[in-house]
Subunit: 198 residues, 2 copies
């Protein structure tokens, strides 16, 4: 079916994006064709503009349209506190709280023996060097509360041993709106361990 194959190439290309499969990609391609001027054309134009200028910040690993990201080039942020996150998505989640005003370091992943991701792949030596160079006084290790995230935290803590700084990790316990009945035992145990006087 030649008809299908030609359009199928675009569908297949969409299906390579994370979270999309053959069915959702078909739907998207049809939706784009149906909404050519309102959606398809502006999207292509925007992607085309971005492709030239979007890049990762050489300092922290955040996404940026400039040579340095807005966080690294801001004068209004604490320069001696560094928050280490797994990915840019995590950085965005942190920023959304509007509670953190220090610097960031995006690892771009977690240590994984299975996937062959070691300290060098994550740039951990560079992170350690950065902590020294920038006279960081507090490192917040904000990795995800997963086994891989916690192993990575543990590894970084070991590397930082002997340095004169405060190392913190995010508090563990019940999420907002959490109900005991729906939480796993490990979360409840963390919440119990980190209980505070009322």
């Amino acid at each position: 079916m030649a008809r299908k194959n030609e359009i199928q190439i675009l569908v297949d290309q969409f299906a390579r994006l994370p979270g999309l499969g053959p069915k959702s990609s078909k739907r998207i391609v049809l939706h784009l064709i149906k909404n050519r001027t309102q959606l398809f054309e502006p999207l292509v134009k925007m992607m085309d503009n971005f492709i030239e200028i979007i890049d990762f910040c050489p300092i922290c690993g955040n996404v940026t349209l400039h040579s340095k990201c807005d966080i690294c080039s801001s004068d209004n942020r604490q320069s001696d506190v560094l928050c280490v996150v797994e990915s840019v998505i995590d950085l965005w989640a942190m920023e959304k709280t509007e509670m953190y005003h220090g610097q960031y370091h995006v690892l771009g992943g977690v240590l994984s023996v299975f996937e062959g991701v070691g300290p060098d792949e994550l740039g951990i030596p560079q992170l350690i060097a950065r902590i020294k160079d920038e006279n960081i006084t507090e490192v917040i290790l904000a990795m995800n509360a997963t086994v891989a995230g916690q192993s990575t935290t543990h590894f970084i803590v070991e590397q930082l041993e002997g340095m004169d700084l405060t190392i913190t990790t995010l508090g563990r316990g019940m999420p907002s709106g959490g109900e005991l009945d729906y939480l796993d035992s490990s979360t409840i145990a963390s919440a119990l361990n980190s209980r505070q006087e009322y």
Copy 2:
């Protein structure tokens, strides 16, 4: 956060696509940036090429890169059998079976009082005209087995009354691999009604 807003525009644009939300769009945009040469650039190029030439077939409503779609322009298909489907996705699903070799007509939706979709919005008068003009002998009404799909089928059957042709609808019953325990009563009832001698 100027940093976020600039990239957020692209994320928001992706979030307008069907099935995508803010979270999945963020993931997609980051994935594109991370895979610029292998994915981002080819995708933009491909979309840009398609945007100029892709359109709906004026005869059947299928998606096409040419003035007529490959099904309508094929000489190897039955010209007197017409299968009416709700959408191009349904047409693709029919074609995937490789069991049907007639013509198609894509309605582009179903009748819906709530959404203000009447016979004219679906081009049902044009469908009736087409059936007459092309000397169609069998019309297969392959709408989805939903209330809206079946109302639309019923409406079209009424419009075709008095015309010299066979009107069929898709068989109803157990899907392949279906287990009685997991099927709804309506499906089992259909399967019972359409039971065949062994």
